[in-house]
């Protein structure tokens, strides 16, 4: 499931299972634990976060 460019799945098994399913489905999503701490981002989110699909510069005309 995990590839080199993905984050470790969350420690909580329920969160981990759901996160893995979101990741497998290609969803762009982030996960927080019960206390709102960030615990996981899907690979699609990481790609998006790296700005690989959008212009490098802000669109200002």
């Amino acid at each position: 499931m995990e590839s080199s460019d993905s984050l470790p799945l969350p420690a909580d098994p329920t969160l981990a299972a759901i996160a893995a399913a979101y990741d497998a489905a290609g969803a762009c999503a982030v996960f927080h634990d019960a206390e709102f701490f960030f615990v996981y981002a899907t690979r699609e989110f990481l790609k998006w976060d790296a700005h690989r699909l959008v212009p490098a510069e802000p669109l200002e005309i």
Binding site: P10, D12, P13, T14, L15, I18, A19, Y22, A27, C28, A29, V30, F31, H32, D33, A34, E35, F36, V39, F45, W48, D49, H51, R52, L53, V54, P55, A56, P58, L59
Partner: protein, 329 residues
């Protein structure tokens, strides 16, 4: 965080929006949350009251005035769907924030219905403009103006649509990136980095041009044009210092390449009238002996003619690129 979401993003505004839910979920309440949050938000902890988070809620990124703000470089609105998650015992274990484009999925599907995943991958690779050596293919329909006058507009439209679809598919199937379409002309780029080597890119470019001849002949036949005068000319060139990148606007996303070699490729194509495919010496000499042999080209025996000496040379070619050596492929 502001940089990631855009300058209009306000962490304080976001904290005021979601802080009540965070406070509700924080064991130890306000005192613990005050110790946990970023120091720049501490003063806001006293301004919020805990609120029971909804099981699921959606949100858009807006600034203090309700104006949508760009999210991570995306100008259009991004919706988020936040769902609280529970384990089998009903214990709250966390939440998932699902990012979605504001465009409905039906619109997204329509926009991507004909997209080829291989091409989307290649476009992603060149999202950031950079120097990328590549083979350049220019193709254009000869005498398109008189053809457009001879047939009905719906028939010419159908022909044009079939043609660009077939050309794009052919370029993609041969490992290329579809460039700009101008009038009845198309451009394609075969990057060394995606083909694996300069020779492989040059070979793909020549094979694509040869395949396009067959494909376009089929398009002419299917469009009931039955006109032998409908021919396509091809100009193939090597761009060792091409600057290739993606241009995204509100209206389209496309890959384009800049460099003198692009202009030279256009000059070569303009001289290839009569349905010929002319390749520059620069392109041919990128080929390894193996790739040249696969194409039926003998690198030792190849004969070239400079554009200025071609009887079909255009005025622009004689003026701007007279010394480019080409041969027919």
């Amino acid at each position: 965080m502001e940089q990631a979401f855009g300058r209009g993003f306000s962490r304080r505004h976001e904290f005021m929006k979601f802080g009540p839910y965070v406070l509700f979920d924080t064991p130890g309440g306000r005192d613990v949350l005050r110790r946990r949050v970023d120091p720049s938000l501490v003063d806001l902890v006293d301004e919020i009251e805990p609120a029971v988070p909804p099981a699921i809620f959606s949100s858009t990124h807006v600034d203090g005035t309700g104006t949508p703000i760009p999210t991570r470089g995306v100008q259009s609105e991004i919706s988020t769907l936040v769902t609280r998650l529970h384990d089998s015992a009903g214990l709250h274990v966390g939440s998932v924030t699902d990012y979605r484009p504001e465009a409905g999925m039906s619109m997204v599907f329509s926009a991507l219905a004909l997209a080829d995943l291989r091409h989307l991958d290649r476009m992603e690779m060149v999202a950031r403009p950079d120097r990328r050596p590549a083979a350049i293919l220019f193709a254009d329909l000869e005498a398109s103006t008189p053809l457009a006058k001879r047939v009905s507009t719906p028939q010419y439209f159908a022909f044009g649509r079939r043609m660009v679809r077939a050309v794009d598919q052919c370029l993609i199937d041969h490992g290329g990136i579809v460039g700009r379409h101008a009038g009845d002309g198309v451009t394609g780029f075969f990057l060394a980095e995606t083909a694996g080597s300069e020779s492989a890119a040059a070979r793909s470019c020549i094979e694509a041009a040869r395949a396009l001849r067959t494909v376009l002949s089929d398009v002419v036949e299917r469009s009931d044009l039955h006109d032998e005068s409908v021919t396509f000319r091809f100009g193939l060139h090597w761009g060792g210092r091409l600057y290739v990148g993606q241009i995204a606007t509100a209206g389209r996303t496309e890959v384009t390449a800049l460099g003198d070699e692009v202009n030279d490729a256009a000059r070569i194509e303009a001289c290839a009238s009569g349905g010929r495919a002319l390749a520059s010496k620069d392109l041919i000499e990128c080929l390894t002996a193996t790739d040249a042999a696969a194409l039926g080209i003998d690198l030792n025996q190849a004969k070239y003619t400079v554009l200025a000496d071609l009887s079909t040379a255009t005025e622009k070619a004689r003026r701007d690129a007279p010394a480019i050596a080409v041969c027919e492929v």
